[in-house]
Symmetry: C2
Subunit: 201 residues, 2 copies
DNA sequence: ATCTTTGTTAACCAAATGGTTAAATCGTTT
DNA sequence: AAACGATTTAACCATTTGGTTAACAAAGAT
């Protein structure tokens, strides 16, 4: 968020803003150049094409999310702790970058395979530790038998959805940005509670 | 889904398909004409511009969802029944039109005010009955005190999210369309269970 | 049969758009 | 200060794109 000074940084900041707001197809190279306050040719000087520029921006945005999540999943915390920390970390992050989720979801829908390759290379996402942990606790009777995919969908859905629906939520409830964020702060606590209650035995 | 015969129907079916797949900015009038097997000029003959055509398609898609939801909310069922029925109806619907949610969410993010106007005209969405019902049951001590907005976000998030993330879910879990739908069938039961458990006293 | 309205198409157009080129400017090295 | 590489810009280009026009065909109406 620091102000950009050299051209490349200015371009990246501008492209991020425009791509997040309008998506790949909706963004115009001229918009990005204007936003950056530089000549359109300079875009092509630093990044050869619109696709390359988008690629760069996307990688930056998507890459910022992953490491924290993965570290968390692979840590030696309990399942319950992991769920709590995940929701808190994730929502904290997204409050500061509320346009990111819909941006990512669009890319997921546009090019699912390419998306996965960009995110994880060729290896599977590193959820093995978490899955084993789940199975173990189920066997030990600590938590209910649950399909991990369903659990994953529940956590992600509860965390992400409000942000992709945010504009109407704000309009429908008459709540402004600050109040919306307060709602999300509540959710940092309530979502883990709800999830854990649903799997605890 | 019935095969279109006259030109207008063919156009609408084609436009629906292309807009759902590529969004407003990503769709090309030529794509739609090709998909419909007609000349591009005919698009402009029946619908004057791309925006008008999109508007028409969007209204059709969004409008198909609302009435069922509203009828349900305003019915004389109990809160618990309403939640159960809503999730079942909604997921059943979306299984058959899996691209609709991301399509709608994009429009929400593109033009929030216009979206609301299209959906509800100038009046507020008719959730009064449901809200009163909620307050009453809270007062009577039947359910926990809960912010209705949070409840709404929980229900919608759990129902909708899997569909907007569907492509990666299918890839990551190696599940095909059929298996994905089976997962969603499970959710018709599990989501209401979870929601109700979270508010029941 | 012919006139008229409606539906359909090919050809065309202007603006927008991603991208290129060549000249100019700036900073650094010699 | 001359030379050189890196950066920046204005002008340009080719293609794409939404949209128009005018001719043409189909189908009723008289």
């Amino acid at each position: 968020m620091a102000k950009a000074h050299n051209a490349e940084e200015k371009i990246i900041a501008a492209a991020k803003k425009i791509f997040l707001a309008k998506g790949l197809a909706g963004a115009r190279m001229q918009d990005i150049a204007d936003e950056a306050g530089i000549n359109k040719s300079l875009l092509h000087y630093y990044f050869r094409s619109k696709d390359k520029l988008f690629e760069h921006i996307f990688t930056g945005i998507a890459g910022a999310f992953l490491p924290r999540v993965i570290n968390m999943l692979e840590s030696d915390k309990t399942i319950f702790e992991k769920i709590e920390i995940f929701c808190q970390e994730y929502i904290s992050q997204v409050i500061q970058t509320p346009y990111v989720p819909i941006f990512i979801l669009n890319e997921i829908n546009r090019q699912p395979e390419a998306f996965l390759k960009k995110m994880f290379g060729d290896k599977k996402p590193p959820v093995d530790t978490f899955l084993k942990q789940l199975k173990k606790e189920i066997k030990e009777g600590k938590i209910k038998s649950i399909n991990p995919v369903q659990l994953f969908l529940n956590i992600m859905g509860l965390c992400i959805f409000p942000f992709v629906a945010r504009p109407v939520i704000e309009l429908m409830t008459g709540k402004d940005k600050i109040q919306f964020n307060a709602l999300m702060e509540e959710r940092k606590i309530e979502i883990p509670k709800m999830i854990i209650a649903s799997i605890k035995k």
